[in-house]
Amino acid sequence: MADEVREDLKYTETHEWVEVKGKTAIVGITDHAQSELTDIVFAELPEAGKEITKGDELCVVESVKSVSEIYAPISGTIKKVNENLEDTPEIINDDPYDDGWLVEIELSNKDEVDALLDADAYKKLL
């Protein structure tokens, strides 16, 4: 039962994914992460406009199994959050790489992107 790892995304050792689009990046949790968490019941997201530093707590995801902190994979300002997660957090389970995204961050330090893992490096972690 292999967890999906998408070739065109960047990853962290703590199972977040990052999709860089110019000056901004979309952040979510990986298929492996959602599968480990099991059924997600709440997602507590940050406010848009908040500044965060790489490694800080980005949001908290609660599943029937545990409460887990999701860490910011990169530094910047929260531009948008996925409002749909408030009422239907289960889309993180159903579609972790598309509809289940968490936040969009305006990057403050583009160099940090290079330090992220590519798909092959992340696969080796699993």
């Binding site: 039962m1 480990e36 029937v64 199994k65």
Partner: protein
């Protein structure tokens, strides 16, 4: 035991006696009579008794079968505890009674404090916390007050390993400290070199369970204590796993400054369903002045409460703790004696290692980290998940079909698909053999059967997502939802 196959209705859904049949005596004046029917169930005694009897038949307790819930120490609760607790000299006391009329109870509490001090190697105990997590919270308040009293308020970090009980970080946060989590080694124990790097002038305390939640004894404990003390921090002992080491090694001798015990676990009082519990806190000499009030004092042959402790953290519980649980623990300790407690720990460790070996004899479950365990062990169902998509949760649900209680699941988080098993010393060998057989059977069963379990229980698989997101906890909520 045969269970009724239908769901037991709520009391007010059982059709009862017609209220009009109740004759109201004529002497009650019209002005004092109700004009509207009162909204309470109107049932016969037979109906009430049957209702509660049905519910009691559906309960599962240690008197029903094996209950190997890891880190919970679900041991048999000797009936003599209940008998003594039911004596009117104890059960009919009122907390406002004058001290001179409760000398026996005060003596019991005073002696229990001393027994727990002796067992743990601490200098003093308070019996007030109502449960383990309450004890932890008090422990953190004591650490904070201690550092503040030393004009050392910059100590705001409390370190805890990633195997710690979930209540540890919660207690740390509740007391206003920052949680600093450190990952364990590949052996499943505290990473001593990482701990060295992590401690600083900001470290208030290190919270540790020993043996830890993997059931592994932290054999570097003396070095760990030195590291924490040299950095100016305190060492906190989470007593959830005390059942593994009674009479063998004492937290005080390991260097711990603050210790909590779970009397309802280690000292045998019933605690399924959430309580009542008791989480006494023991401390080393330097922390005694900060213990909560009231403290119990013996003057000549008279016992009494004292409140004049100016450095105390104050009151942390109404009245004097859960006295009925204290009484059961006191009875248990006296009945067991020092040798009995030591033997209990030995057999608890033996039972855990026997059951572990039995389960690992056949395929299905693995044991991550090192082999020898204390009173509990954590299996991984990851192979079942890979091969058959059967998860730890499914195994737990299927165990219900076989009439036994599942282990603790998905904890500690560092073990994938964790099943944390603690049989305790009170399970006979045949119960352990049977539990291993059931797990083997489940591992070889058709995945669909396991994934749809339980099917032999009154209530089938519950919708956990819905239960978490939309909990219905009161009758009022049920009424609202029916509208």
């Amino acid at each position: 035991m045969s269970l009724p196959s239908v769901q037991e209705p709520l009391l007010n859904k059982i059709s009862g006696t017609d209220q009009k049949q109740v004759k109201i005596p004529k002497k009650i004046p019209e002005s004092l009579r109700r004009t509207k029917a009162i909204n309470i169930p109107n049932l016969d005694e037979t109906q009430i008794i049957r209702h509660f009897h049905h519910l009691s038949q559906r309960n599962f307790g240690i008197d029903t079968g094996i209950y190997p819930l890891g880190s919970c120490t679900m041991k048999y609760n000797p009936k003599i505890n209940e008998e003594i607790a039911s004596w009117p000299q104890f059960s009919c006391l009122h907390p406002h009674q004058h001290e001179s009329t409760i000398q026996g109870t005060l003596q019991m509490m005073y002696e229990l404090e001393n027994m727990l001090s002796e067992l743990t190697g601490m200098d003093a105990f308070t019996l007030q916390p109502a449960a383990g997590a309450h004890g932890e919270f008090l422990g953190m308040l004591l650490a904070r007050t201690y550092h503040q009293n030393n004009n050392d308020s910059k100590r705001v970090d409390v370190i805890t390993p990633d195997t710690s009980h979930g209540t540890n970080p919660a207690s740390i946060s509740m007391a206003g400290f920052n949680v600093v989590e450190i990952p364990s080694t590949e052996e499943g124990t505290v990473d001593v070199s990482l701990l060295k790097k992590t401690v600083s002038e900001r470290t208030a305390c290190f919270m540790l369970t020993n043996p830890n939640t993997l059931g592994i004894f932290e054999s570097d404990i003396l070095e760990i204590a030195d590291i924490v003390h040299d950095a100016g921090g305190l060492l906190y002992y989470d007593g959830a796993n005390m059942n593994a080491i009674m009479g063998k090694v004492r937290p005080g001798d390991m260097g711990f400054d603050i210790v909590h015990l779970n009397l309802h676990k280690t000292f045998s009082s019933p605690h399924g369903g959430g309580g009542p519990g008791s989480g006494p806190i023991g401390v080393s000499k330097r922390l005694i002045p900060f213990l909560p009030v009231p403290r119990i004092q013996k003057k000549k042959d008279t016992y009494g409460f004292t409140y004049d402790h100016p450095q105390s953290v104050g009151k942390i519980k109404g009245f004097y703790g859960n006295v009925d649980v204290l009484l059961r623990a006191y009875t248990y300790i006296l009945m067991m004696g020092a040798n009995g407690l030591q033997k209990a720990s030995e057999i608890a460790v033996l039972n855990a290692n026997y059951l572990k070996k039995k389960i690992l004899e056949k395929p299905g479950f693995d044991l991550p980290f090192r082999d020898l365990r204390k009173h509990e062990f954590v299996l991984s169902a990851e192979e079942l998940r890979k091969n058959k998509k059967v998860r730890a949760m499914d195994v737990a649900k299927r165990l219900l079909d076989y009439g036994v209680h599942p282990p603790t699941m998905y904890f500690p988080l560092i073990v994938k698909e964790a099943l944390m098993i603690e049989p305790t010393e009170t399970e006979p060998k045949n119960a352990l053999d049977e539990y291993a057989q059931i797990l083997h059977k489940i591992a070889s069963e058709d995945a669909e059967i396991v994934k749809s379990a339980p099917s032999n229980t009154v209530v089938g698989r519950v919708d956990e997502v819905n239960a978490t997101r939309n909990p219905v906890l009161t009758w009022k909520q049920i009424k609202e939802s029916e509208k």
